[in-house]
C-alpha cells in the first residue's frame, strides 16, 4: 500500500485506511484494523491513536442509525435530516423522502405529530395551506381532519405543476391556484373563511419579505386560540437558503413587533425539540 507523500503522516494513514475499507467493502473493526496494519505495514498504535480514526469509525462501522446519531451534534442531525430526508427528492434519493400513505411530504415526522396534536386541540373548520409543492402535506392534514370528523383543507399555490395527486381523492381538500398576494385569491379565501375557525400553515416562498407579506394578509383569518405557522424558520438558523438573505424566522420576529395579537408558542409545538419551524408557531391570543 502506497502512502501520499505530500500529506501529513496521520492524514495519509487515515486516507489509506479509508481506501482499504472501501476497496474490500469492510466495516471498521479490530479485524479490519489488524489486516490493514499488516498489509500496509503500519504500527497498530499509529492507527488506533490516529486523530481521524474516530470519524472513520463513525462511518465505517456496523451501527444502528441511533448509534450513529448519538455521536452527531444536533446541528449535524438537522443537516442530515434536511439533505437526506426533507429534500431527498431534490438530491436523487426519492426513496428517502418522508411519506404519508405513499404521498411525498416535505416536513418532519415530529412536526407532523405536532400538527396532529394542535389540530385536535384547536378543531379548525379550515386549515389554510399557503404553498403546496407535491400536496402530500395536504393529504396528511386532510386525513387527520377526517379522522377527527371535522374540517377541510384549503390549499393555495402559485402553480399546481408539482402536485402529485388529485385533491378529489382526499375528499376534504380544495385547491386554489394563484398568487397568494393577489386580490382574487385573497377575496376567495375571505369568502370561504368568513365566520370559520381557521388554522394557517405558511410554507410558500421563504424569502423574508414574501413571508411577512403573507402573514400580514392572512393572519387576520386565524381565530383566537388557533395558530399561524411560519414554516421552515429553521432555514434562517441553519443557512439553508441558496442565497444569503433573511427568511421565515426574521419575518416571524418582525411580525411579532407589529402586533400583540399573536405570541410565539415555544412550549407545546416545540416540545419534541426537533422542529423545522422554531419560533414559527404563532398563536393568536386576542
Amino acid at each position: 500500500m502506497k502512502f501520499d507523500e505530500t500529506a501529513a503522516t496521520d492524514h495519509a494513514i487515515a486516507k489509506a485506511y479509508v481506501s482499504f475499507l472501501v476497496e474490500r467493502r469492510l466495516d471498521d473493526d479490530d479485524a479490519a484494523r489488524a489486516e490493514f496494519c499488516r498489509t500496509a505495514q503500519v504500527a497498530p498504535k499509529l492507527l488506533y491513536n490516529n486523530p481521524h480514526v474516530n470519524q472513520i469509525a463513525s462511518i465505517f462501522a456496523k451501527r444502528t442509525n441511533m448509534e450513529r446519531v448519538a455521536n452527531m451534534t444536533v446541528r449535524e442531525y438537522l443537516r442530515y435530516h434536511y439533505y437526506y430526508v426533507h429534500q431527498a427528492y431534490k438530491y436523487g434519493i426519492p426513496e428517502m423522502q418522508q411519506t404519508w400513505l405513499g404521498h411525498h411530504i416535505i416536513k418532519s415526522p415530529e412536526d407532523c405529530w405536532v400538527y396532529q396534536e394542535l389540530l385536535y386541540a384547536t378543531k379548525p373548520d379550515i386549515v389554510l395551506e399557503l404553498g403546496l409543492m407535491f400536496g402530500g402535506a395536504s393529504v396528511f392534514l386532510a386525513n387527520i381532519l377526517k379522522l377527527m370528523g371535522h374540517g377541510e383543507v384549503l390549499g393555495i399555490d402559485i402553480t399546481f405543476k408539482n402536485l402529485k395527486h388529485d385533491p378529489r381523492d382526499a375528499g376534504n381538500i380544495t385547491y386554489l391556484e394563484g398568487d397568494s398576494g393577489s386580490a382574487r385569491i385573497l377575496d376567495e379565501v375571505a369568502r370561504r373563511c368568513e365566520g370559520k375557525k381557521v388554522f394557517v400553515i405558511a410554507d410558500s416562498d421563504h424569502e423574508k419579505e414574501h413571508v411577512l407579506k403573507e402573514i400580514r394578509l392572512y393572519s387576520k383569518f386565524v381565530n383566537v386560540g388557533s395558530y399561524y405557522v411560519v414554516e421552515d424558520s429553521l432555514n434562517d438558523l441553519m443557512g439553508y437558503h441558496p442565497v444569503p438573505n433573511e427568511g421565515p424566522l426574521a419575518a416571524a420576529k418582525q411580525f411579532l413587533t407589529e402586533t400583540d395579537a399573536f405570541i410565539p408558542d415555544l412550549r407545546l409545538p416545540e416540545k419534541y425539540l426537533m422542529t423545522l419551524s422554531p419560533h414559527g408557531f404563532l398563536k393568536r391570543v386576542k
Binding site: 424569502e207 443557512g239 441558496p242 442565497v243 444569503p244 438573505n245
Partner: protein, 156 residues
C-alpha cells in the same frame, strides 16, 4: 471587438447583448451557473467557503479562455460584477495578499475588453434559481460596479 456588459444582477441583458452583437459577434453567457452546478450547488453563495474561493477564481480562468478564442464577442457579464459580488459577500474569506492576486488577475481580464457597457437600467431578469434577484442586494452591487470598473482599469 470584445464587449462586456456590467449591470446589477436583477437586470436582464439578453436584449442589450443581442443589440451589441448585431448578429455578428458571438454572445457568451455567464459561466457561473454551470460551474456551481457542476459541484452540486444551486448558487455561489451556498458553496462552502474554501471551495467558493476556488470557484470564484475558476470563473476568471474560464473568462480568460473565452477571451483567448478571439473574434468579436459580447459577454452578457463582466469580471467587475464578479469582483463586486465577491467584495459584497466573500471578501473576508481571502487574505490581503490573496485578494491582491485575485484583483490583479481580474484587472488583466478587464483590460482586454475593448469596451464595457454599463447598464444602469433595463428589463427585470426572470427567476432561474441561480441569479439572486433581491433588489437591495442588486442596488448595493450596482453601487460598487463603477468603482470596481475604474479600479480594474476597464474602458467604459
Amino acid at each position: 471587438m470584445k464587449i462586456a456588459i456590467a449591470a446589477a444582477p436583477t437586470i436582464d441583458r439578453n436584449a442589450a447583448a443581442a443589440k451589441l452583437a448585431g448578429g455578428k459577434a458571438r454572445i457568451v453567457a455567464d459561466p457561473g451557473r454551470a460551474l456551481v452546478q457542476s459541484r452540486g450547488f444551486q448558487t455561489m453563495y451556498e458553496v462552502p467557503r474554501d471551495l467558493q474561493t476556488e470557484l470564484r477564481l475558476q470563473l476568471f480562468d474560464l473568462h480568460a479562455a473565452e477571451l483567448d478564442k478571439g473574434g468579436d464577442v459580447v459577454f452578457d457579464h463582466c469580471v467587475a460584477e464578479w469582483i463586486a459580488d465577491w467584495m459584497r459577500w466573500h471578501w473576508a474569506a481571502l487574505s490581503t495578499r490573496a485578494w491582491d492576486a485575485a484583483f490583479a488577475k481580474a484587472a488583466e481580464l478587464a483590460k482586454r475588453y475593448d469596451k464595457v457597457e454599463l447598464l444602469t437600467d433595463g428589463p427585470k431578469r426572470g427567476y432561474d434559481g441561480y441569479f439572486w434577484l433581491d433588489e437591495p442586494n442588486a442596488r448595493q452591487v450596482a453601487e460598487l460596479l463603477p468603482f470596481v470598473l475604474q479600479k480594474l482599469g476597464a474602458k467604459i
